[in-house]
Amino acid sequence: MSMQLRAGNAAKGRVSTKRSGDRPGFLVYGLLAAFVIGSALPLYWSFVIGSHTKGQANDFPPPFLPGGHFLENARRVLNTVDFWQAMLNSVIVSTACAVSVVFFSTLAGYAFAKLKFRGSNVLMAFVVMTMAVPTQLAMVPLFILMRDYGLLDTLVAVALPTMVTAFGVFFMRQFLVDAVPDELIEAARMDGCTMIRTFWTVAMPAARPAAAILFLFTFMMVWTDYMWPLVALQKTETLQIALDRLALTGQGQTTDYALVLCGAGMSTIPLLLLFIFAGRQLVSGIMQGAVKG
């Protein structure tokens, strides 16, 4: 998929070079650069303040460069909250949800895209409709449900509501419609493949590029979620809940922003790494989803 995208861009680039005078000037680059620097500043700010002492954090004019107290602040974060356990919990929950969403979405998306069955149109319309339903608002019954089954304060409770998503099914369906030729499915069936084996050998490999993107987005969505873990957990913490508690501890007569922003920066590092290595996939995922959606 990303190859198609790049090919498309290359073709467009060729066309536009023929058009004289379309090469953007300094104004365009300048405006974009201003926006990008503006968006990066808050994140930069968290690392600047997070690497200064508590006293320096309220200085004005503020420090402009990172200071030398990051490790010291990081140690204070680790002493205040169980950061590593919280991060491990976030990794476990996000990975479990992403794997589950990718698998079940590919399965259902394949059925909706390629198999003929009674009611498929109505059921697909239902899936699309549920994308617009704010199910998070039903937090009270979900909380009661988890409590009744003794799941409160467990990672299972955090993961359960995001084991499938309507968006995932929709996304995989849109991708698989074009990605898997009908002839290939027929050929596999002719060779005596059962349905599940056809799915496994024909659809799964073809779905890989979209599956990678869906994995990334689901992982990020669960990782950054705050409301549901707040409802479902009591003593156990995900990264966002640990950050919440860190902020509470940092509050006082004057908030300890060196501590709080160091924690905010530390909690962002994993996704920042993900962004550096898979940012291209994130970009093409957003653009792909938009065009097809």
Partner: protein, 347 residues
Amino acid sequence: MSTSSDRPAGDVATATDPAGGSPAPHGAGRRTSGSDDPDRRRLVRRQRRSRWDLKLSPYLYISPFFLLFALVGLYPLLYTAYLSFFDWNRAYYIRGDFIGLDNYKFVLTDPTFLKSLVNTFSIFLLSSVPQILLALAIAALLDRSLRAATFWRMSVLLPFVVAPTAAVLIFGSLFADQYGLINQFLASIGIDKIAWHVDRLWSHVAIASMVNWRWTGYNALILLAAMQAVPRELYESAALDGAGKIRQFVSVTLPLIRPTMIFVIVTSTIGGLQIFTEPRLFDDTVSREGGPDHQYMTSTLYIYARGIEDQFYGRASAAAWVLFLIIVSIAVLNFVITRYLTRRHTS
């Protein structure tokens, strides 16, 4: 599910194994030795199984989604509706009497809930309108044939990887009432400090700015994708007609990306009316209910505070349904307007 589907898969694996020579008699002989016509019986059985496989498999594949959605989506929503008609005994954790619409009556006359509704809409408008306008501008810039296009596209997405929790803590330090960077700057140029955590409208501006920060680049990329699908010849002919860049944008780009615009508006409406993390964590009072006087308590925060914290399950459920109906009717309204606009556009 895996056990029932594994069996036929393994069966076929032996039947189609190219190294197995003539697999059918081999496999059949092993299993049904001594019967009159093993080949025929096996064929019939396989055909019957294959027909069921063909018919049932699609339902089997979509069932995990529907089963789980029923459990964690549909059931809680319906149960919310059910709870909203009952009293709730907080002392004994049991459902009380059926009280009809009393919970709705309570919620709709609760000044805090009404305030939260106004806050929700105010924050939503302050976040979505500037956000979509700025995203449009950024997308238009990215749509030019830039050098290092991928670099620029990735760069505008950077804030998206910062979780709302971290974002609100960072912005909280910038918007701090006493020593926040923004207030210190305002003071240094002789402007009065702004009470970001006390003044209702300014607190909405602060919260909206965090939301905008995280989502503008994301929406710009969606709009960019739509802009790239606009045939370039249209711009050329518009340029030949003497249209400048801005004129081209207004009369060529905007009409052609309208479906995507509406998609962006609908999704940011559904998300924007459920803002929770920012107002909860922006609050530095102990109760954390959207400011000392609920200046920036959103309706989702109200549901959480009354439902999960105070355990007024019935009232919180009624509030959830009111908000739910508002969001869905706005989504439907959007849909109807879209249909109307596109029909007029095509005819």
